[in-house]
């Protein structure tokens, strides 16, 4: 939610419930994180610490050994060992799935104190971690292909330039009234060539639309209509992998255009862990039917690429919102005491995709019959308002209700390719312009001093840290950071004459905590109307630094944190002026009558008539039972490692000083760093040996 839009719609009198909540309780702008990105903000929300302590700084993180980007929240690795028989292979063991958000979410800590929680669709909760409660993972959950959402367009159109990514387009041919094609699934785990698993799909023309024939499914789909979720089964030997898809018939004449959502993990037969405990998604799937499980379920890329039109996208968002609301109410019905957190993404996605309609100066501002943003966004806000109204009717005086958003929104008219700028200014060397591949294809790392990856981060190619680093740490790095900062702040957009960058932050000064060294060296904040280009985020260099943003993705929030706050509503009066995302976790501790952990950066907000007794009117502590949850039973306990008393005391002292949430986290991080260092030196030796073998080195 954007505060300005809330206030605008509230003035029209269409948000009566949120207005009532604001007047009887509290309404404030909610200070977001630096950078103001959802993964960072929601990680801070759940841990109560700054990014230096939870280790999430962007959607992407870079691997300093390869300069490639990877998802910042989770890492999936195939099984470490396998047997190969020609084209076939037999994986020995399971793929590893590791969450990369550090520190501890408040629900885990509250669980240790006997308070159970429902955590629904909160970003950066994949893979789900065990705690006392139930969790359904949100942003970060991949589709069955392992991507963050790859939709498919089935078309009989032979010429099409509108869709840039041909992998998403499957061309089909009518034979009479029938077209036979397939749904592509994940790579076959038993084949070494990575050939995908397939499921046959037959399309038949009917008078009213297209008949979809899959195994066990026979359904007519009309134009402009979404199908229900359809289960797709991919067979790999004796095993089956299940996914779910929805279809949308965009057009039938003069050519067929059929959209299929990304193949999402089936909640009833999850191929990946979607929830904690694992059966929670099965329970929800059984109770409410199949539902979207993908982290970024609303297919913004399909709208960006013209596969879906505005109305179809809004329809998809509404369907997903309906599912979320059903999940939320089910959890609400089951909650006796504890915490219920649910994230609804619809407003965020609609603001990203429809801000162009609000902004007449936006290059993608529509001239035609597209639904007006005011209509679309107002409807979305009204829907949220209805939900809040229904909730207000059902919560009692002992319940604390918060409605929050992690950031606000502004227009995104012009994109800035930071890598193109770095290349133009000589910081990034190599034959990079126009390279088709991602991740700096053609870069000469032995001559490059800086690079940008992700939506707001700049990295120094530092010696001893990056694989081919050339900038000495310390003085030289500081000098280079200062040089780049000055240059970026003086950068001007030739088309508007404006400086697009308003702030460049040195992360070593902004963040505190053990993971600061994983952060980008510099973080860029933009003026309203500007943002990093998509190409720059993926490590591509274009010939132009500035470009008009003509995509539907037209609203964004990469400004200074103070300029782009979210919203905070509470049904309890609060007597503080400034509320930050990091304050919410400590406040929840206070609400339950507990002292927040000392490593948390946020401070508890004043909730009740007197500080210290805040929790007493919300929860009767004597009613809380400390019980071992059913999901905690039978869990494998980690192996114990003996640490001498003196070393343990030093470990505890050091981890407190550094701001780690627990001894385990500190020890794990120390071990990871050491392993990384050893592996990296092993890699260097291996490269050296190879170069010697080829005669390049003597």
């Amino acid at each position: 939610m954007e505060p300005a839009l809330f206030e605008k719609f509230a003035k029209r009198g269409v948000l009566s419930n949120l207005s009532r909540l604001a007047s009887s309780g509290t309404y404030r702008p909610l200070e977001t994180t630096t950078p103001p990105l959802s993964p960072v903000a929601w990680s801070t929300f759940q841990t109560g610490v700054n990014p230096g302590k939870h280790g999430i700084f962007d959607f992407l993180r870079r691997d300093p050994r390869t300069y490639r980007g990877e998802l910042s929240s989770a890492r999936v690795r195939p099984a470490a060992r396998e047997l190969r028989f020609g084209r076939f292979r037999l994986p020995l063991g399971k793929p590893s799935l590791v969450g990369l958000r550090r520190s501890q979410p408040f629900w885990k800590l509250l669980g240790e104190k006997g308070v159970s929680s429902f955590v629904l669709r909160v970003p950066i909760t994949f893979p789900p971690e065990p705690f006392r409660g139930l969790c359904l993972s949100g942003m970060g959950v991949p589709d069955l292909l392992g991507s963050q959402g790859t939709c498919t367009r089935y078309t009989t159109c032979s010429e099409d330039t509108a869709v840039p990514d041909s992998q998403k387009t499957v061309r089909v041919c009518w034979t009479g009234e029938t077209a036979r094609t397939r749904i592509l699934g994940p790579p076959n785990p038993f084949r070494s060539d990575g050939r995908p698993l397939e499921c046959p799909l037959v399309l038949r023309r009917t008078d009213s639309g297209v008949r979809l024939c899959l195994k066990g499914v026979d359904r007519v789909l009309r134009q402009g209509e979404y199908s229900p979720w359809i289960r797709v089964r991919f067979r790999a030997g004796l095993r089956s992998v299940y996914g779910i898809v929805r279809f949308y018939l965009t057009r039938l004449d003069p050519f067929l255009d059929l959209y299929m959502t990304p193949v999402q993990v089936d909640p009833l037969h999850p191929a990946l862990p979607l929830s904690h405990p694992g059966v929670f998604s099965v329970y929800l799937g059984g109770k409410q039917g199949a539902f979207s499980t993908l982290g970024l379920a609303e297919d913004t890329s399909a709208l960006n690429e013209g596969i879906l039109d505005d109305r179809a996208f809004v329809g998809q968002c509404e369907l997903i919102q309906g599912e979320r609301e059903e999940t939320f109410w089910d959890a609400f019905e089951h909650l006796r005491e504890g915490v219920l957190v649910c994230v609804f993404d619809m407003i965020d996605r609609l603001q990203h995709m429809f801000w162009r309609n609000l902004d007449p100066n936006h290059p993608a501002h529509p001239a035609g019959s597209s639904p007006s943003a005011d209509d679309v966004l107002e409807q979305a806000y009204r829907r949220a308002d209805r939900l809040v109204g229904k909730l207000l009717e059902r919560v009692d005086d002992h319940t604390l209700l918060w409605v929050i958003s992690d950031h606000g929104f502004r227009s995104f008219r012009r994109s800035v390719n930071l890598n193109s700028w770095l290349h133009r200014e000589g910081y990034l060397a190599g034959d990079l312009v126009g390279a088709r591949g991602d991740w700096f294809e053609g870069a000469d790392w032995r001559k490059s001093r800086a690079y940008s990856l992700g939506l707001c981060g700049l990295y120094i190619n530092q010696k001893g840290r990056e694989r081919c680093g050339i900038v000495e740490p310390g003085q030289e790095t500081r000098r280079l950071k200062s040089e780049i900062t000055s240059a970026l702040l003086s950068l001007k957009d030739p088309a508007t004459g404006l400086s697009p960058i308003t702030e460049v932050l040195d992360t070593s000064e902004v963040f505190r905590g053990p993971y600061v060294e994983d952060a980008p060296d510099l973080i860029v904040a933009y003026r309203e109307g500007y943002r990093t280009s998509w190409e720059s985020a993926l490590g591509r260099v274009t010939s132009e630094v500035f470009q008009d943003n003509v995509r539907s993705w037209s609203g964004d929030h990469l400004l200074r944190a103070g300029e782009i706050p979210g919203v905070f509503f509470s049904n309890k009066a609060l007597a503080c002026d400034r509320i930050g995302l990091e304050d919410l976790a400590p406040t929840l501790f206070a609400a339950f009558g507990f002292s927040p952990p000392s490593y948390m950066d946020g401070k508890p907000l004043w909730l009740g008539p007197a500080q210290g007794s805040a929790g007493s009117d919300l929860v009767r502590q004597e009613d809380m039972k400390v019980l071992e949850g059913p999901h905690q039973r039978g869990r494998k306990m980690p192996r114990k490692i003996r640490i001498e008393g003196d070393l343990l005391r030093r470990v505890r002292k050091a981890r407190r000083a550094a701001g780690y949430a627990s001894d385990e986290e500190f020890i794990r991080h120390a071990l990871e760093k050491e392993i990384e260092r050893i592996e990296s030196s092993d890699d260097e030796d291996a490269v050296k040996n190879r170069l010697q073998g080829l005669g390049y080195l003597s």
């Binding site: 059966v279 329970y283 799937g285 059984g286 109770k287 019980l627 059913p630």
Partner: protein
């Protein structure tokens, strides 16, 4: 307290059952006649193969009927709902109120599930009965061995009193009548004991002025040979009061390794397996 059926009620029930069975036997006779060469061919493979064939046939019939009369999607939804309620019991086991609600939900979903079965089951009643009768006829009983005693039962709807000339039994060579007729007036029944001498299928006739009835007895040298369709009565309908004849061939079991299993168990088990294996191909759910 136990409840016993009155004598009149019992008689009425017997007549009802007998008339229903008679209709079914007629239907079976019809289907058996049409399929006789095929069934005879299959029964030549042995009882286990024949029961497998019947199971496959039953599975086809079940799946076709379920596909036509019970939408797979609805079944899937209700089954998932049952599963959800059972998981709910596990997920919220700390809260008795939620557990009770989940249990109630599970019961309700199960009732819906059972109700969904009603329509296809009614439709299945006739074809499955015919298949079971065929199975019973060919697998439930074996032929008599030479030297074994054969009891012929005759039932007289008009009762045993008032015979001008007492019923007489006629047996072909290969069978010998060993005993005089045994009258059981209470059950309107007259029985004879015969002895099998040599292998063959023998038609036995019981005649009286009221009517004439026939029944086949199967005698074989092989222990495992089925009785086929022998043992049931053929009545001459034109004659009112004609007797209903029955011969109880010895019961038989299917041999699975060292186990002797009733054919019905094998048939049900095999049918279940076929249904589960083939339901995906048929697009049926149950």
């Amino acid at each position: 307290m136990t409840r016993t059926r009155s004598r009149t009620g019992s008689r009425a029930w017997a007549i009802f059952r007998e008339s229903r069975l008679e209709t079914l036997y007629k239907l079976r006779h019809l289907s058996g006649t049409v399929l006789a060469p095929f069934l005879d061919f299959l029964s030549g493979f042995g009882p286990l193969w024949f029961s497998s064939f019947l199971a496959l046939l039953s599975a086809f019939v079940v799946l076709i009927v379920y596909r036509a009369f019970a939408p797979a999607r609805d079944f899937d939804r209700v089954k998932n709902r049952i599963k959800a309620h059972l998981l709910e019991l596990r997920l919220f086991q700390e809260d008795p109120a939620l557990v009770a609600r989940a249990a109630l939900g599970a019961v309700r979903a199960n009732l819906v599930y059972l109700r969904m079965h009603a329509k296809p089951l009614i439709v299945l009643l006739l074809p499955i009965s015919l298949i079971l009768l065929e199975g019973e006829a060919r697998l439930d009983r074996r032929s008599f061995l030479p030297g074994e005693a054969i009891i012929v039962q005759s039932f007289w709807p008009g009762g045993l009193s008032g015979f001008e000339e007492f019923p007489e039994i006629f047996v072909p060579p290969g069978l010998v009548v060993e005993s005089p007729p045994l009258r059981i007036p209470g059950q309107k029944e007259i029985d004879w004991r015969l002895r099998a001498k040599s292998a063959g299928v023998y038609r036995i006739a019981v005649r009286s002025p009221r009517g004439e009835g026939f029944v086949d007895a199967s005698v074989s040298d092989e222990l495992g040979a089925g009785a086929g369709s022998a043992g049931r009565s053929d009545r001459i309908e034109a004659m009112a009061g004609a007797p209903l004849l029955r011969i109880e061939h010895p019961k038989t079991f299917l041999v699975l390794g060292s186990l002797h299993v009733p054919w019905l168990w094998v048939l049900v088990l095999e049918t279940l397996v076929f249904v589960l294996v083939l339901k995906g191909r048929f697009g049926a759910e149950l």
